[in-house]
Amino acid sequence: MEHKAVATSAAAHPAAMKRLAIEREVISAMQKPGLLYWALVGLFATGFAVFLLGAWGIQIAKGIGLGGQLNPVGWGIYIVNFVFWVGIAHSGTLISAVLFLFRSKFRASFNRAAEAMTVIAVMCAGMYPLIHLGRVWYAFWLFPYPNQRLLWTNFKSPLEWDVFAISTYLTISVVFFYVGLIPDFAIVKRYTRGVSRHIYSVLSLGWVGSKRQWRNYNMLYALLAGLATPLVLSVHSVVSWDFAMGIVPGWHTTIFAPYFVAGAIFSGCAMVLTLCIPMRKIQRLENVMPIEHFEKLAKTMLFTSMIVGYAYTIEFLLAYYSGNVYEFGIFKDRATGYYKFQYWGMVFCNMIVPLPLFIKKLRRNLKWLFVTSIFVNIGMWLERFVIIITSLAHEYVPYAWGTYQPRGVEISIMIGTFCFFFMMFLLFAKFLPVVAITEKKEEVQ
C-alpha cells in the first residue's frame, strides 16, 4: 500500500512524549536480564524441580501415605494449598475484570501483574488436586470422556464441579490475559529484533490497531470482563462448596460461599501487594504504579479483612447459638484444642494486623503495606488450614478423632509450588509487558 502523507503533526507533541515515556518505561523493564535475574530464575526452577517434581515423583512411587493424612483427616495441606492458591488467583481477575467494569482508574497499574498472578496461581492451584489424589495416574477419569464402558462422571459431586470450575477458570483467565496482551505484543514487537521479534509478532496476531480491531477487541474485552466477574464468584463459591456440601461440622454452613469469596479477595490483594511492591522498586515502575493506587488496594484489603473477621465471629456465634454439640464442639476445639495456635494465628494475622490501615499514613507506607501483606498471606493460609484440618480432626464420632500434622513431602511440595510461582512470575516480569501499555496510554490526555 502506498500512502500519500497529507498532514503530519509534530512528533514532539506533549501527548506523544507522554505516551512514549510510558512505552519506554514498561519496555525498559523488559531489557536484557542480568546475571542476578537468571540466577534467581535458575534457583526457583531448581527448587521447582527438586521440591515439587522430585518429591511428587517419590510420593507417586511410594504412595500418598508419605504425607501426614490419616483416617479422619483425609485432606491435608495439599487441599489447604489448593484453596490458598485459588484464593490468590481470584483477586487477579477481580482487580482486572471488576475494576474494568467499574472503569476504575487504578486498575491499569496492576491489572497485567494481577492477571499474570491469576494465571500462575491457578496453575499452582490446579496442581494440588492432582498431587493429592491417591491414584493420580487415573486423574483423567475425573473428566467426562467417552470411555469404553460409557461410564461418565458424577456431576453431582462438588469435586466434579471443581473440575469444571477450575478448568474453566484457567482457560478464561488465560484468554483474558492473552487478549489484554495482544496490542502490547504489537508494541513490544517494535522494540525487538531477530527471533524475539518474530515471536512477539506472531503473538500479536498481526495487530495494527485498526478501527475494526479496536471495535471488536473492546467488545470482547468487556464481554470477558463481564463473564470473568461472575466466574470468579462462582469458582470460589464452588471451592467453598467442596466443604459446605459436606456433612462435616465446621464445613456445612451456608455462609461459606461469600465468606470464601471475601477471603479470596483479601488474600489476593495481599498477594498483589507482595508482588508489586518489590516489582515497582526493582523495575523502576514508580510512574506507572503511583502510590495512590496502592492506597486503594490497601483500602480494599482492609474492607475484606473486616468481612472475614465478621465471618469468623458470626460462625462462632452461630455454632454457639445452635446448641448443636457437634458444631460447637468443632469451634471450641479450634479455639482451645490441638490447633489453637493456628486458629489464633489466623485471627491475629487476618483481623488484627490489617487494622492499622485505617491510618492513611500507613496505607501510603509501602514498607508497612508489604509487611502487612505478608502477614495476611500467612493468615489466609492458616485460615484454610483451620477450616479444612480442624473440622475433619474433630468430627461426630469421638473414637475417630485424630490429629494431622504435615510431613516432609507435603512441605517440600508446598515449597516447590512457591518456587514455581516465583519462577513463572520472574519470567513474566522480563518477557511480557508488566503494565498494560495501551491502557496507560489511554489515560494520557
Binding site: A10, F164, K211, Q213
Partner: protein
C-alpha cells in the same frame, strides 16, 4: 489513499469529524490508533461488534450442554448416589454456569479472530507496525 498522522487524540478526532462532514463515507476511512478512541467510533457510525453474537451463541450452547450432558449421562447409566434424584437441577446448574462462561468466552475469542480477520498473516509477515500515532487513511477514488 491519503494518510494523516496526529500525535494527539484531539487533533485526530477533529480531523475525522471534518472528513465525515466533508462527505467522505465512513467505510472509506480506516484508522490506526494506539488505544481505542470511543468518540471516533461514534463519528464513523460503526455498528456494534458481532463478537457479542459469537459469545451469546457460545453461552447458550454452554448452558444447554451443562444441563443436558449431565442429565443424559446420568440417565444413560443409572447410578444412585445418596438416594438423590438422577437429574438434579441445582447441582447441574453449577456445571451449566461454568460451561456457559467457558463456551461463551472461547467463542467470543473466536469471534474476535473471525470478525477482525486475525491472525492477519500479512501484517505479521510485513513490517506494518502498530504505531504510537493516530493515523487516518482515506480511500478516495
Amino acid at each position: 489513499m491519503e494518510r494523516h498522522v496526529y500525535a494527539s487524540e484531539h487533533d485526530f478526532v477533529h480531523k475525522l469529524e471534518e472528513l465525515v462532514k466533508s462527505g467522505v463515507k465512513p467505510e472509506d476511512i480506516e484508522t490506526r490508533t494506539p488505544h481505542p478512541v470511543h468518540h471516533a467510533e461514534e463519528i464513523l457510525r460503526m455498528k456494534p461488534s458481532n463478537v457479542r453474537l459469537f459469545a451469546l451463541v457460545g453461552g447458550i450452547t454452554g448452558v444447554a450442554t451443562g444441563y443436558l450432558f449431565p442429565s443424559l449421562t446420568a440417565l444413560d447409566w443409572t447410578l444412585f448416589v445418596g438416594n438423590k434424584p438422577l437429574v438434579g437441577i441445582p447441582p447441574y446448574t453449577v456445571i451449566a454456569f461454568e460451561l456457559m462462561v467457558l463456551f461463551g468466552g472461547l467463542s467470543g475469542f473466536l469471534g474476535l479472530l473471525v470478525t477482525s480477520r486475525m491472525p492477519g498473516i500479512r501484517t505479521i509477515i510485513s513490517n506494518d507496525e502498530f504505531g504510537d500515532m493516530f493515523e487516518i487513511y482515506v480511500k478516495r477514488d
